[in-house]
């Protein structure tokens, strides 16, 4: 019989090892799934995970896809540490794109250098506003933020759909449900010629560093770490849970809004009914894969970005449905959660091991 025996201390080695273990197990299961679908598992895994980054353009695309994931996940991780479960980042991303993008559409013939900074600020504010609603409902009315933040995602997506089908539709766009293209002054500059790597990617690195400093050096970062590890102790020393809820939801929402604006002012360049292939949800996995730590999230974001690229490539070259990406992401999170058991418990075989010790 297999038993779990608690470790005296969390295993630091397993904290770093378990994501690696989870990725390896996902690859094995992925190979089996490909084999079931009648594909050569090695070819398929190669197409999925190696081929997309075998040339420099592929690597640049990896950074483009990782940008929103990393930015959003840094914000979400702060909340998850404090047991604030914001799962509505997709909606906050959409609201950021609407707020920031709205400015670009209002000044659609502007050449002002202030347009882009204004969009950035409005994008972050839009996301933070959408995050503030679950924060208010949780702190004032005790309503579960998991459900409210998710419901608001549907509302935000429908609102964007209304805008691009109605008042914000491009008058010269042959009735397609999309906005005018943003003016040049409202587009993020590409920072590496010949690629789509934009200013937002550089800012993502800045977000990681700022998040790291916040977590390791600031008072609120200290509180976040304590609340996560010892909620009762935190309550005893008087950390205010409400402040934590507000802080993490505003920060998470603001960063998601910024990421949304980066998408529409970067790779997309206008508002469309669909502006994200689920970055807000994938960022949840990125946060866990990165051990809820900004630096870990940087790596986690790159890995999850690879699943998007691999999924697109596998669709083109192997004819696999795009849904494989989501499947991989779900399986990875399962294994990650399962492997995390090893940080807290030792696996013991045989039921007699506990004899001679009293619990």
């Amino acid at each position: 019989m297999v038993r779990l025996e608690p470790r005296r201390q969390h295993s630091q080695a397993m904290v770093y090892l378990s994501p690696v273990l989870a990725i390896l197990m996902t690859l094995v299961v992925g190979g089996i799934i490909f084999a079931f679908m009648g594909k050569n598992p090695f070819d398929a895994l190669y197409t999925f995970f190696i081929l997309p980054i075998s040339n420099s353009y592929g690597i640049s695309e990896l950074f483009v896809k990782a940008t929103p994931l990393v930015i959003i996940a840094v914000g979400l991780a702060m909340g998850f540490r404090a047991n604030v479960w914001n799962i509505g980042a997709e909606g906050q991303l959409t609201m950021g794109a609407i707020f920031g993008g709205g400015l670009a559409l209002y000044f659609y013939d502007s050449e002002s250098m202030f347009l882009l900074p204004g969009m950035l600020i409005l994008g972050a504010l839009g996301g933070a506003f959408w995050g503030a609603i679950p924060a208010l409902l949780r702190t004032r009315f005790n309503a579960n933020e998991i459900l409210t933040s998710l419901m608001l995602t549907y509302v935000a997506t429908l609102f964007l759909s209304f805008l691009v089908h109605g008042p914000w539709r491009n008058p010269e766009g042959f009735n397609f449900p999309e906005s005018r293209p943003f003016p040049d002054a409202g587009l993020l500059p590409v920072i590496y010629d010949g690629t789509r790597v934009h200013l937002g990617t550089a800012l993502a690195v800045f977000v990681v560093i700022a998040g790291w400093l916040l977590l390791s050096k600031s008072v609120i970062g200290f509180q976040l770490r304590v609340v996560g590890k010892a909620p009762q102790a935190a309550r005893h020393v008087g950390f205010r849970q409400k402040r934590m809820v507000w802080f993490t939801l505003l920060l998470g929402g603001g960063l998601a809004g910024l990421a949304g604006l980066f998408e529409v002012a970067g790779p997309i360049g206008q508002l469309q009914p669909s502006i994200s292939p689920g970055y807000g949800f994938t960022a949840i996995i990125v946060a866990f894969l990165g051990r809820l730590h900004p630096v870990g999230i940087l790596f986690g974001g790159l890995i999850m970005a690879l699943t998007y690229l691999g999924g697109e490539l596998a669709q083109i070259t192997l004819g696999l449905p795009n849904a494989v990406t989501g499947l991989f992401q779900g399986i990875l999170l399962f294994f990650l959660l399962a492997c995390d058991v090893l940080t807290k418990y030792r696996i013991r075989f045989g039921s007699t091991a506990a004899k001679g010790r009293t619990a």
Partner: protein, 306 residues
């Protein structure tokens, strides 16, 4: 007034999947387990039901497959959270992400397939009675099943011994364990019931509500079902009232256009989601009521002392 019968019929069909999924989750939560993967389990149930029905031609086989698929999904959740003691919130999210991807992958081969919807009850003479006939005696059997399940779990939780044990496990797992009940086993069973009901709810969507498969066809209904359980303060009777209220709200958008109300369709589509938020706020703000009715150990891992 000839619109009223079709209107009530669409309300019933829109409410049934919510009622099925929420009844299952109610039992799961009563045992102290919070499974946020309802949406994922529903989607996998929907595609399993549709795929098997479309391939075999038998709706009964399809429904069985949907229940089995839902139970299987819930077992993944149960193994991770109950055996390996993983975080329930994170695992539930993983279950939904997995379910969305898995159902879309399996379903990609079934887009555009057509099947016959589930047959409705037809009692010669009686089902033809105006108004009452089609509403009371003209539904498919899953509708009757969903209502029976509500009465069944109402009886189970208040009158049966097993129901009392289930509640004890949800309210104080250490006491239940001390008395000698197997907390983990009971939680496994309660989680599996929730999974089976979610699978059934998914099958209702893909076999009866809209007899077809579309990616993400649950459109948040699994999450609304979760909110319904809170709205019902974990009581089956209120669950039914809540499910039918949400059914009503979600079909209003279909009938608003016909009634000459010209609000952009996107705003009408927002209604169920906004209603969920509002309802959650109203119920949750009464903290005492929530504390009184919520299973005390909900979401907490249990590890029996050695």
């Amino acid at each position: 007034m000839e619109w009223i019968v079709p209107f009530i019929l669409t309300v019933i069909t829109a409410s049934t999947p919510l009622l099925l999924a929420a009844s299952g989750e109610l039992i799961t939560e009563k045992a102290g387990v919070l499974n946020l993967g309802v949406e994922g389990m529903m989607l996998v149930g929907a595609i399993a039901g549709f795929a098997v029905t479309a391939s075999s031609g038998s709706a009964i086989l399809g429904i069985v497959a949907a229940v089995v698929a839902g139970v299987f999904m819930s077992l993944i959740f149960a193994f991770l959270t109950l055996t390996l003691m993983a975080n329930q919130v994170a695992t539930g999210l993983a279950l939904t992400i997995f379910g969305v991807g898995f159902s879309a992958l399996v379903g990609s081969g079934f887009v555009g397939f057509a099947i016959d919807p589930l047959p409705s009850l037809s009692i010669p003479g009686i089902s033809a009675i105006p108004v009452i006939g089609p509403i009371l005696f003209g539904q498919d059997f899953l509708v009757y099943l969903s209502i029976s399940v509500v009465f069944g779990i109402g009886w189970f939780l208040t009158k049966s011994r097993a129901g009392l044990v289930l509640k004890a496990v949800g309210d104080s797992h250490s006491s239940a364990h001390a008395i000698g009940y197997s907390v983990i086993k009971i939680r496994y069973l309660a989680t599996m019931f929730g999974g089976g009901m979610a699978g059934l709810a998914g099958a209702y969507l893909s076999l009866s509500y809209t007899p077809m498969w579309a990616e993400n066809m649950t459109a948040g209904r699994g999450w609304i079902a979760l909110a319904l359980v809170v709205f019902a303060t974990w009581r089956p009777g209120r669950l039914m009232a809540g499910a039918y209220m949400f059914g009503l709200i979600s079909v209003m958008q279909l009938h608003a256009q016909g009634a000459g109300i010209h609000v952009p369709s996107q705003f009408m589509s927002m209604l169920p989601y906004l209603a969920t938020v509002i309802v959650l706020v109203i119920i949750s703000s009464d903290r005492a009521k929530i504390r009184l009715n919520a299973p005390a150990c909900i979401g907490q891992a249990f590890r029996p002392a050695q």
